[in-house]
């Protein structure tokens, strides 16, 4: 079945450093969504990318969708302690389920 892997699994950064998580699928993706889950919280939708090569920005966050639509990345510039949490990529292919990536846990050291 479809697998969506994320690397790294864990990342510790000093506050102010940059952070990137990568999402790789074994199959072509219809779209890619990114969610953030704070510690003890629930996944919250951040953004969706649909087009090949698409790039979107939200303040310090930059999201990219690969040209082949099989990978994506989330880059955070100058991390802050509020960025702590687990970041998931996911695909909604319209088949009544969201396939989530394995997640990247980010810890930001003040």
């Amino acid at each position: 079945g479809q697998q969506v892997m994320q690397i790294p699994q864990y990342q510790h950064v000093q506050e102010g450093e940059d952070f990137t998580t990568y999402c790789n699928s074994s199959t072509t993706l219809s779209n890619i969504q990114w969610y953030k889950q704070r510690p003890g919280g629930h996944p919250v939708f951040l953004i969706q990318l649909v087009k090949s090569g698409e790039v979107k920005k939200q303040k310090r966050l930059t999201f990219q969708f690969g040209e082949a639509k099989k990978n994506s990345s989330l880059h955070i510039t100058a991390t802050q302690t509020t960025d702590v949490g687990t970041y998931f990529c996911a695909e909604n292919s319209g088949t009544y389920k969201y396939i989530f990536g394995t997640g990247t846990r980010l810890k930001v050291l003040a």
Binding site: H42, F45, T86, N92, G94, Y96
Partner: protein, 113 residues
């Protein structure tokens, strides 16, 4: 005001017991889901419902029985709880269709002792 609400937030129970988790959404969405999140944070689909009809049952043991009395509610009943059922269970909803986002409830942390 909560869009997707689950109860209870925490559930501690003994092996062999039966328990239920309730979920309600006030977003008017047609599709609802149950996800299981294990200790490694993997989010795995268990069930999805569309307009009260079961669409996906992702090889979940028969001890888990979802019920959707109407499209705003999706409950999960678990029989004969086992240690391996300990996890966080998330209810979610979406408008359905591609390119729509999922809205999650706050989760139910189930601990089986």
């Amino acid at each position: 005001d909560t869009a997707v609400s689950q109860t209870p937030k925490y559930l501690v129970t003994q092996m062999g017991n039966d328990k239920s988790i309730k979920c309600e959404q006030n977003l008017g969405h047609d599709t609802m889901y149950w996800y299981k999140q294990d200790s490694k944070k993997f989010l795995k689909i268990m069930f999805s419902y569309n307009n009260k009809e079961l669409i996906i049952n992702e090889t979940v043991p028969n001890r888990f029985s979802p019920k959707s009395p109407d499209k705003a509610h999706l409950n999960l009943h678990i029989n004969s709880l086992e240690l391996g059922d300990s996890a966080v269970y998330f209810c979610a909803s979406s408008p359905g269709g591609r390119n729509t986002e999922a809205f999650f409830g706050q989760g139910t942390r189930l601990t089986v002792v």
